[in-house]
């Protein structure tokens, strides 16, 4: 009897869980549903700082909208810590309980959601709202899936630079590296002068993973990553091999601090802003801490930046580097109704001006960023740089590769840079991981 009971429980369980996968989508292409705007509470699951600019601005706009639409409210559910957010997001997706709006990168997981019709076609939505053309091309491109489809809306625009300390460069007698290939030598010279070459947040994984993207982007262009993630290219190919060798060389030249793998974001930034490290690879979201008169006076005047160096025979231009528009916002196709549309129409039209007024770069090209009163001249230079960005995007690899291969890559990279494994071991391990995992996400 007990056996029968167990079998019954098993059957029910399987049915219960299976009912939650798949299905449940609305019409992903119907961006202008018929019906009246009926105010209600709408929810947005996000992964942005609780008191950050995006949330503050959107909250103000929601309050404004609520004045003319009594009964409306915007419920912001934020989990700033990315791994915790992802766990929550995936659990909600598995239970088919994603809220009206939710943040996601253009990951393979999100692509599955889109394929099931659970996300609204953001390209069509923005077009129908008359906003599509106001966005920076690269801001939208960053959000796209491989097939060019667009399912998420950007709320920011960031460029990633190598910030450096001019005084420390001078002390070591080095110049800004003209080529990526020069970086190991630059590091070695800085080390000889007793300076930590590059501050690195090893704990969050993504900062080191940026470095694996650089060489392939310069020698083979963005296409390499597109093929690699589908297992149509290999880490053992010349571009991947060059990246592995270069990272091995960076490690051998002791570019990164001892024990970087256990250093956090704040540690890395503090190392740079206290004059302990000569370089720091970070995006314009830190402009307000790096190009400000509040910065430690000992380094304030010495801080400058350079963009991603090229290599000889580079297939991408110097003005093409990592530019991102951050995690995007998807619209749940199932709960999309005239209210959500009306609110987005209101909020997205007003958002760029309000956002740019805070000193941040808007994902649209139709507003001017207000330079804060406490900014150093570097701030304006960085903001102006956004106008001359090229067309090819250096995508960060962490949102592109399948998650299992990506996790493995992050682990192996640390070993490679620490000198625990050789570049050859690295490419072998990674190619095996890729062959095992990529097909599960990309060949359906």
């Amino acid at each position: 009897m007990k056996k029968m009971l167990t079998a019954a429980v098993a059957a029910i369980t399987a049915a219960a869980l299976a009912g939650c996968g798949g299905g449940g989508g609305g019409d992903a292409a119907n961006v202008n549903p018929a019906g009246k705007v009926e105010p209600r509470r709408i929810s947005w699951l996000l992964s942005r700082p609780a008191n950050g600019t995006v949330i503050t601005v959107m909250r103000q706009l929601a309050d404004e909208y609520a004045k003319s639409h009594p009964g409306f409210s915007l419920n912001l559910i934020t989990t700033p810590d990315r791994p915790s957010f992802i766990q929550k997001y995936e659990t909600l997706a598995a239970a088919n309980k994603l809220p009206d709006l939710f943040d996601t990168d253009a990951t393979p997981f999100a692509q599955k959601l889109a394929r099931q019709g659970r996300m609204l076609d953001a390209g069509k939505l923005l077009t129908s709202l008359g906003l599509y053309t106001s966005y920076r091309k690269s801001a939208l491109d960053y959000q796209r899936f491989d097939d060019g489809s667009l399912y998420t809306i950007p709320f920011e625009y960031q460029m990633e630079f190598f910030w450096y300390n001019k005084a420390l460069f001078k002390r070591a007698g080095v110049k800004v590296p003209a080529s990526l290939d020069d970086m190991p030598a630059t590091c070695a010279a800085l080390r000889r002068a007793g300076v930590t070459p590059i501050a690195l947040d090893g704990q969050d994984q993504w900062p080191l993973e940026r470095y694996v993207a650089y060489q392939p982007f310069r020698v083979a262009g963005p296409g390499y990553l597109g093929k690699l993630k589908r297992n149509d290219a290999k880490f053992g190919d010349p571009a991947g091999q060059k990246a592995a060798n270069w990272l091995g060389a960076l490690g051998a030249a002791k570019c990164f601090p001892d024990g970087f793998s256990a250093k956090g974001y704040t540690d890395a930034q503090n190392l740079f802003t206290s004059g302990g490290a000569a370089m720091y690879n970070i995006g314009t979201w830190e402009l307000s801490s790096l190009a400000t008169t509040k910065l430690n006076p000992a380094v304030r005047a010495d801080v400058d930046y350079f963009t991603l160096p090229t290599v000889p025979n580079s297939v991408t231009a110097p003005n093409e580097f990592v530019t991102s528009s951050g995690i995007g916002m998807a619209v749940n196709a199932k709960t999309f109704d005239p209210l959500v549309r009306d609110f987005l129409k209101f909020a997205l039209a007003k958002y760029p001006a309000a956002y740019a007024a805070t000193g941040a770069l808007s994902p649209t090209a139709n507003v001017k960023t207000t330079i804060p009163s406490d900014a150093t001249p570097l701030y304006r230079r960085a903001v102006d740089q956004a106008n001359s960005v090229g067309t090819k995007l250096a995508m960060p690899w962490d949102t592109q590769l399948d998650p299992t291969t990506n996790t493995r890559l992050q682990q192996e990279l640390v070993l490679l840079v620490q000198g625990d494994i050789k570049p050859g071991d690295f490419t072998r391990t990674m190619d095996a991981a890729l062959a095992q995992n990529a097909p599960k996400f990309f060949t359906k």
């Binding site: 429980v9 098993a10 369980t13 399987a14 219960a16 869980l17 299976a18 996968g21 798949g22 791994p83 992802i86 766990q87 995936e90 659990t91 997706a93 598995a94 997981f109 599955k112 959601l113 099931q116 930590t196 090893g202 704990q203 994984q205 601090p257 001892d258 024990g259 970087f260 793998s261 256990a262 250093k263 956090g264 540690d267 998650p403 299992t404 990506n406 996790t407 992050q410 682990q411 192996e412 640390v414 070993l415 620490q418 625990d420 494994i421 995992n437």
Partner: protein
């Protein structure tokens, strides 16, 4: 057993706990067990794969076995620190005449601090650039050669992530064992001492046999918590560098919530359950056998 028990009374007392336990624990476990025979990414339809997940885990997954080895190392370090440490500290406490209560409370303090703060503190303690407390201390006693980035060195990281977990709960186990030690009749000890028994003999022949049941409980608690240990390794190194501090639990968590491979993650957790049951069985076996000697 009570002479006047009734079927009804058993039901009355047993129903609430079983209900709570059934709904909150057994149901999801059964659901997980079922999931372990499926391939499911949370989005697509579930696909029955039979024992494929188990075959993959046992024969085709090097990371899993690496994590298993690490988990055993982690268990060993935690057990020595927690149970061994607690026994020593509780004995020391029992020998004090004043201030025991205050000291006991103080020993518990690390357990109440959130793991986020603990992880942050230990990152600094283990740091080499700038030199953290541990490396400073080594230099101060002339062992500068031993300085290293403890959390980045593949040879030391496992011990480095185990120690905070062990240390954090020493106080808790100390209190449990100390309470048991207090119940040891003083007359017995005094008598043995007067008969010329050494401190060690008093401990081995009187105290320890007396507290053996509590000691077994404590060991089981510590072992199962250690085998399920997650927070501190996850926060300190997230399993790295490479897979040097990957535990089965962190690996399972990543498999479930990074790779969204819920079926395989369930298989791994079934393994954790089996592994813990074996550990509990072994502990009971060892401690019972001694008790019967």
């Amino acid at each position: 057993m009570l002479p006047h028990r009734s079927r009804l009374a058993v039901l009355v007392f047993l129903t609430p706990p079983l209900l709570l336990y059934g709904v909150a624990v057994l149901l999801p476990i059964v659901q997980s067990l079922v999931l372990s025979f499926f391939s499911w990414d949370g989005l697509s339809d579930m696909e029955f794969v039979g024992l494929a997940n188990y075959t993959r885990m046992l024969t085709g997954d090097a990371v899993f076995w690496r994590a298993f080895g690490n988990a055993l190392g982690y268990l060993a370090i935690c057990l020595v620190l927690q149970v061994g440490g607690a026994l020593v500290v509780a004995s020391l406490l029992a020998s004090l005449r004043r201030g025991r209560e205050v000291i006991k409370t103080l020993y518990l303090l690390p357990a109440v601090i959130s793991t986020v703060a603990i992880a942050f503190l230990f990152q600094r303690i283990y740091s080499i650039d700038p030199a953290g407390l541990l490396n400073q201390a080594l230099a101060a006693v002339g062992l500068g050669g031993w300085q290293r980035p403890w959390l980045s060195d593949v040879h030391t990281v496992l011990a480095a992530v185990s120690a905070p977990e062990g240390w954090r709960f020493v106080g808790l186990y100390t209190i449990i064992i100390y309470a048991a030690l207090l119940a040891v009749p003083r007359e017995l000890e005094e008598a043995a001492r007067l008969d010329g028994a050494s401190s060690w003999q008093v401990f081995a022949h009187i105290r320890f046999p007396y507290i053996r049941p509590v000691f077994a409980t404590t060991t089981i608690m510590a072992a199962t918590y250690a085998l399920r240990g997650f927070d501190i390794p996850y926060l300190l190194t997230n399993g790295g560098p490479g897979q040097s501090s990957e535990l089965i639990t962190t690996y399972m968590y990543k498999t479930a919530f990074t790779s969204t491979d819920y079926g395989y993650a369930s298989t791994i957790s079934v393994f954790i359950v089996v592994e813990c049951l074996v550990a509990v069985g072994l502990i009971l076996l060892v401690l019972r056998r001694k008790a019967h000697r």
